[in-house]
């Protein structure tokens, strides 16, 4: 093959218009194939990355106490051990809950103030829950009496089975 033949020509062996259309076809195909790969990868990386958004928490009812051991009519805090899944591990930690028993009915309060999450206590002389941070006051049933909290005390789902009080301590919406 005489290579000089090609060298002398100003353009390649193909005429220009055809070459242009081939060129744009190849450009388009390159972009399409690149797009296919990126979308397969992007879709899977995306759902992996944002999966925590819709991860559902499993209901995990925890046995706290025998019903009869909770004083009637007086708010009482009870410490309990909770075993929680944490990624690939299971963590055990001590948590606390405030109970108010009225006969067979039990209310379980999230132990954090609805304002900024400080731990409140029961003032038995004044019959109110007192939050130490901004001196918010809550009634026995959790209603805001004074101070900045935006809503009553958060409650945990609670049920009594075979005389044992169980709670579902899921963090309420809006908790810090």
């Amino acid at each position: 093959m005489d290579s000089k033949y090609y060298v002398s020509g100003p353009v390649g062996p193909k005429p220009v218009p055809d070459g242009m259309s081939r060129r744009s076809f190849f450009s388009a195909m390159t972009i399409i194939l690149g797009g296919v790969i990126s979308s397969v990868l992007g879709f899977n990386l995306g759902r992996y990355f944002i999966s925590p958004v819709w991860a559902t928490k499993k209901e995990n009812w925890i046995n706290i106490s025998l019903l009869e051991k909770i004083p009637n009519g007086i708010p009482t805090s009870v410490n309990y051990i909770q075993r929680k899944p944490d990624g690939w591990m299971a963590n055990e930690g001590v948590d606390t809950v405030w109970f108010l028993r009225q006969g067979n009915k039990v209310i379980a309060f999230n132990p954090k103030c609805t304002h900024l999450g400080c731990p409140y206590r029961w003032d038995s002389e004044k019959d109110v829950f007192v939050c130490p941070c901004h001196t918010a006051l809550f009634s026995k049933t959790g209603e805001v009496l004074s101070g900045p909290p935006p809503r009553p005390l958060d409650r945990y789902p609670v049920k009594t089975e075979n005389g044992i009080v169980k709670i579902l301590p899921e963090p309420e919406e809006g908790e810090i």
């Binding site: 290579s3 090609y6 060298v7 390649g12 060129r23 190849f26 450009s27 195909m29 390159t30 194939l33 690149g34 296919v36 790969i37 397969v40 990868l41 899977n44 990386l45 995306g46 759902r47 992996y48 990355f49 999966s51 499993k58 995990n60 925890i62 046995n63 051990i81 909770q82 075993r83 899944p85 990624g87 690939w88 591990m89 299971a90 055990e92 075979n162």
Partner: protein
């Protein structure tokens, strides 16, 4: 827009130098380099996302890898990472063969070749070895044991090298963090440097043209003092006849990359990644085998007894790597076609054939130990039992453990799975007045503990089972004091064989082991009897 870009970043110049540059005529084999680049990027991307849910600690590594598989898309990402790692090993090797046989490492591309050899060693040796340990399963652990012991046997410095890589006094927490840091920080940084230089040189010199026989094209170059100039002139001549890099060459690369990507996607979805049971340094029945691309080295070691082993471990690899490094200095001059430099071509063919032969030999070499299938859930339960809840403080198994609670040797025979599950969730409910505390176990913990405890005792067998053994098996086999040990002693068979396997073996031994001398009992004993007997044997621990 383009003007705006041009003023800021010099787009026109970049486009001219990178995208519009002419490429001489190339073959499909020239897409291998781009495929490797793509696979490396895929490794980096999937690796970053995997690292978000991985914990490099012996206590957590295995569980976190399994956790990744439970995240939406996690199993797929892990599959992509694993299979593209395999693909990149094939890719860099084939790319090297292409460059080797086409003589593309010759003037002026020697430095490109050296950076390429560096990348080959880092990717296959560095990433492969360090990434292997991270899942912390049996395969990971034993591959690292073997790898470190090989390093140790290198003369003079072996012990020091092994100690540095291992970090601690044995393979453990420090080894894992070392390997993790190598795998995700150090090696990627080195790779980026080498890869950057490699790619720069590829653009700087241009992609090498196809080799030409000496009679044609470069024929007049032989024994000419001025050959470098002529090679350069010929290259520019071929280059000027070529096509612009974008879109013609990029398109070709992209088609090849798409095929490779789809193959990896298919493998990731269909085959997934196998995770063996968690690393167990006490296992006596494991068959450590290297990944297939190290099989040739594995097989090589078998031919060098005792004091000669240093040949296989140090001398041969050093010679091989030295050959690759020195190649552009040994094989110089303008001749690039494989037929024009028969000596180098023959060395290449012999080396390649040897590797393939050793690899195949290694692949088919028989396993020394029986393959023991283990139920991962049972092992998980066992770990929880002993390590997390420490049930052995109160309960005993095979006479070991506390006496506060009842012994659990045969709890699998006595209690149903439902009973066991209720018992773990709320002991008080099924055994009123029990001293066992409620541990607040999570659902998955209850499930694996049930799997473990119900496996204790090998499943219920009847009172006839020992008699069945005495009548049918005791002439050759032995269990405890019963029978003769002419064939294998089955006293502890339950430790390494599962009941299902034993049942199949009794039915038809040849099916499970072609070399078995035992006759099958299919037809001699009823299905129920075989089942009963297998449960009895599985209970022998």
């Amino acid at each position: 827009m383009k003007n705006w870009l041009d003023e800021r970043i010099g787009w026109k110049k970049i486009k001219e130098v990178l995208l519009d540059r002419k490429i001489p005529r190339v073959t499909s084999l020239h897409t291998l380099g781009s495929i490797c680049l793509f696979l490396f990027i895929l490794q980096v991307i999937t690796g970053i996302f995997l690292a978000m849910n991985y914990s490099p600690s012996p206590d957590h590594a295995y569980d976190s890898v399994r956790y990744i598989s439970e995240i939406p898309g996690g199993r797929f990402l892990r599959g992509l990472h694993f299979w593209s790692a395999t693909a990149i090993v094939i890719g860099v090797f084939l790319h090297m063969l292409r460059v080797f046989f086409m003589g593309s490492y010759k003037f002026p591309r020697e430095a490109t070749w050296w950076t390429g050899v560096g990348l080959l060693l880092i990717i296959v040796g560095g990433f492969g070895f360090t990434g292997y340990l991270l899942p912390w399963d049996q395969k990971a652990y034993w591959a690292t044991v073997v790898g470190l012991n090989l390093a140790k046997q290198m003369p003079y410095l072996g012990h020091y090298i092994a100690a540095i890589i291992r970090g601690g006094s044995e393979i453990g927490a420090v080894t894992l963090t070392h390997f993790y840091a190598f795998h995700v920080l150090l090696l990627p940084a080195i790779t980026m440097l080498l890869l950057g230089s490699h790619l720069f040189l590829v653009v700087w010199h241009g992609i090498s043209s196809l080799p030409e026989r000496t009679k044609e094209g470069s024929g007049q170059l032989i024994s000419n003092d001025n050959w470098k100039q002529k090679v350069s002139d010929r290259y520019h001549e071929l280059k000027s006849q070529g096509k612009p890099f974008f879109p013609y060459i990029v398109y070709k690369d992209m088609v090849a990359i798409t095929f490779v990507f789809l193959a990896i996607v298919w493998l990731a979805m269909e085959k997934g990644v196998h995770l063996e049971v968690v690393a167990d340094p006490t296992d006596k029945f494991y068959n450590p085998r290297p990944e297939w691309y190290f099989l040739f080295l594995f097989q090589l070691l078998k031919y060098f007894p005792g004091s000669f082993e240093v040949l296989a471990i140090a001398v041969i690899p050093v010679v091989l790597i030295g050959f690759l490094v020195l190649l552009p200095l040994i094989d110089r001059g303008p001749k690039r076609h494989p037929f024009d430099r028969p000596f180098i071509t023959i060395i290449g063919v012999i080396g390649l054939t040897g590797m393939i032969y050793l690899g195949i030999e290694g692949y088919y070499s028989p396993l020394t130990n029986p393959i023991i299938e283990k139920d991962i859930r049972v092992l998980d339960g066992q770990r929880l039992f002993f390590e997390n809840f420490r049930c052995q403080s109160c309960h005993s198994i095979n006479g070991r453990g506390g006496v506060f609670g009842p012994p659990l040797d045969t709890v699998g025979l006595r209690r149903s799975k439902d009973w066991l599950a209720e018992h773990f969730r709320d002991p008080e409910k099924v055994s009123p007045g029990t001293k066992m505390p409620n541990f607040g176990m999570l659902d998955n913990e209850v499930a694996v503990l049930v799997a473990y405890t119900s496996s204790l005792g090998g499943g219920p067998f009847t009172a006839q089972a020992p008699a069945l053994f005495k009548d049918n098996c005791s002439d050759c086999h032995k269990v405890g004091d019963m029978g003769e040990a002419l064939a294998s002693d089955l006293s502890g068979v339950g430790q390494y064989r599962e009941q299902g396997w034993i049942a199949k073996y009794i039915e038809n031994p040849k099916k499970m082991d072609p070399k078995a001398e035992m006759e099958g009992f299919d037809g001699i004993l009823t299905k129920e009897q075989i089942e009963d007997l297998s449960r009895y044997l599985a209970a022998q621990r």
